[in-house]
């Protein structure tokens, strides 16, 4: 039963990630793209953790932690880069 729960959870997180990518591509303004990017990193982190627990591989969890730290730093850099571009809104 445990593996079943974790298996379906992984599929749900994959669907979440795909929908976030769609939002990322479609999003009219840069602000929507930043929001989608923020959620995408969270969902990817959750997928890594759930998969690490499902397959009982401790390596995935270390990867997830490092991914979260650098993802956050990368997100800061992207947000700062887009800071001036968010206002005009019509182009990325």
């Amino acid at each position: 039963m445990t593996s079943l729960l974790l298996h379906y959870m992984q599929w749900f997180l994959i669907i979440c990630a795909v929908v976030c990518i769609i939002r990322l591509l479609v999003g009219p303004t840069a602000a929507d793209r930043l929001v989608a990017l923020n959620i995408l990193s969270g969902v990817a982190l959750a997928f890594l953790v759930v998969r690490g627990v499902a397959q009982e591989r401790v390596l995935y969890l270390d990867v997830a932690l490092v991914y979260d730290i650098f993802g956050f730093l990368g997100f800061l850099a992207i947000a700062r880069f887009l800071k001036d571009k968010i206002s005009d809104g019509e182009e990325m």
Binding site: M1, T2, L5, L6, Y8, M9, F12, L13, C16, V19, C20, R23, T29, A31, D32, L34, V35, A36, N38, I39, S41, G42, V43, L45, A46, V49, V50, G52, V53, E56, V58, L61, D62, A64, L65, D68, I69, G71, F72, F75, L76, A79, L82, K83, D84, I86, S87, G89
Partner: protein, 113 residues
């Protein structure tokens, strides 16, 4: 179904619920700010309850300890990221969505036309 699996089922069910609500909200809302709220809901609450479910189902202490560390750091980074996006959007003056005149029929009080 042991007691652990029931709690994990509750955690994963809430994660699916919040995740789908957040995703629907991200496409339905008209305005970057309201999409941000739906996105924060989906990106933080759903992910955190998935962590709780994973923590409950963790087979040994090594995995459980790592999941706790990831939870702590995720609670720091995700809301900060959402805050930064909201702050940059607000500072750059993105206009806030206002309902059009014709959708005002829902409000009970008489609008001075």
């Amino acid at each position: 179904m042991s007691v652990r699996e029931w709690f994990a089922l509750i955690a994963f069910a809430s994660s699916v619920l919040f995740g789908s609500a957040g995703l629907v909200g991200m496409f339905r809302f008209p305005d970057p700010y309201s999409r941000m709220q739906a996105g924060g809901l989906c990106g933080t609450t759903a992910v955190f309850s998935a962590f709780i479910g994973a923590l409950i189902l963790a087979p040994n202490a090594a995995i459980a300890a790592r999941v706790v560390v990831i939870m702590v750091f995720f609670l720091v980074s995700a809301p900060t990221g959402s805050y930064i996006v909201a702050r940059f959007t607000w500072q750059s003056g993105t206009p806030v969505w206002k309902p059009l005149a014709k959708t005002k029929r829902l409000s009970r009080k008489k609008e001075p036309t």
